[in-house]
Assembly symmetry: C2
Homo-oligomer: 184 residues x 2
C-alpha cells in the first residue's frame, strides 16, 4: 500500500467515527442539481458554491467538457435520480488551454513520462518508449475558455436525451480569485 493511501485510510478512520447524520443521506441529491466541472485540484464545489454532503451530483473530467461520458452521467442523474438543473463550470489556468490535441499526441508518442512545463507549453523529457495510441483520442484541448463553455452548454441543450425542461447554465471559475462568472 502506498504512503498516500495509508494517509487517506487514516483520515478515513477518523471520518467514520464522526459520520453521524450523513448515514441518513439518500442516493437522491437534495438540491436536485448536477454540476459538470473540471478535475482541477483547486475546484472545491462545497466551498465555492456551497454544494456539500448530499447536495449535488458532481461530474468531473479534464476540462469539464460535455463528453459522451459526461452526458451518460447527466442522463442517469435526471432520469433515475431526479436532478432538474445542470451547471457546467470550467476554470481559468486550465491544463487543456496549454496544449493542443496535436501536441498531446506528439508528447505521448515521444514518451509516457510526465512532460516538463516550458514557457510555451510542455516539452517531453524524452525517456521513451512512448505510445502512438494517443492519436485515437480526442483530447478536447481548447483556446477560448468562454467559447468552450458555450460549446458544452449548447451540446447539452441540443442533446436528444436531455429534455428542454432541464435548466442548463455555464460558468467560469477564476483560480486566482475564486470568483464564479456566468457565461451562459
Amino acid at each position: 500500500m502506498s504512503k498516500l493511501l495509508e494517509e487517506m485510510l487514516a483520515i478515513n478512520a477518523r471520518y467514520v467515527e464522526n459520520f453521524g447524520e450523513r448515514a441518513r443521506l439518500s442516493v437522491f441529491p437534495k438540491k436536485k442539481v448536477a454540476v459538470l466541472m473540471c478535475m482541477d485540484s483547486r475546484m472545491e464545489a462545497h466551498e465555492f458554491a456551497g454544494l456539500g454532503d448530499g447536495d449535488a451530483h458532481i461530474i468531473r473530467n479534464a476540462g469539464g467538457r460535455a463528453t459522451d461520458d459526461a452526458i451518460r452521467s447527466l442522463v442517469v442523474s435526471y432520469k433515475l435520480l431526479g436532478t432538474e438543473e445542470f451547471v457546467v463550470i470550467h476554470h481559468t489556468d486550465c491544463g487543456l488551454e496549454k496544449v493542443t490535441d496535436l501536441q498531446m499526441r506528439e508528447l505521448l508518442a515521444s514518451s509516457l513520462e510526465t512532460a516538463e512545463r516550458s514557457e510555451n507549453g510542455f516539452v517531453d523529457v524524452g525517456k521513451g518508449p512512448g505510445s502512438r495510441d494517443g492519436q485515437y483520442i480526442e483530447w478536447l484541448a481548447f483556446t477560448d475558455g468562454e467559447q468552450a463553455v458555450r460549446d458544452d452548454v449548447t451540446r447539452l441543450r441540443n442533446h436528444a436525451l436531455i429534455p428542454s425542461r432541464i435548466k442548463i447554465s455555464g460558468l467560469i471559475f477564476d483560480t486566482r480569485t475564486g470568483k464564479l462568472t456566468q457565461i451562459e
Copy 2:
C-alpha cells in the same frame, strides 16, 4: 437565473472575500494523485480521504467507471500535470446497481421524465415522448460492486497510455458508515 444559481453565486461572493492563500495554488496537484470516483452526492473526498484544496485531480462520472473519457482525463493528469498515483473509488447503494443497461434504454424510450423508484428498481411515469437514442449508449450498470472495481482497475493497469510506474488501487466507499475498503 435559477434560484439555485442565485444561491450558489451568493455563497461564492463570500468565498471570494476569504480566498486568501488559495490564490497561490498551482495547476499541479500537491499530492500527485488522481482519484476516479462516482458522481454520488455523498462522496466528499476532502472529508472522507483528506483530499482538499490543491491536493488531487478528482475525476467523477456515474459509477466511477474507467471509461474512455476517464482515461483521457487520467492521461492528461499524469502526462501534463505530474500525478504518480490513481485511486478508483466506487460506493455502496449506487444508482448503477439498481438498473441494467436494457432497463435504462427502455426507461428512456418510454419518456424523458424522471422515473419513479419502485421496490424492484425504477418504473417510468410514462409521460412521453421518449427517445430511442439511449440504445446507442453503454450505461455501464453493474451488479457486483467489488467486481466492477476490479474491472476498472484492471482496465487502467492494462491501458497502452498508462505506464506501469503509476500506482493504481481500487476502493469501495460505504455510504452508510463512510468507511473506505480497499479491494485492489
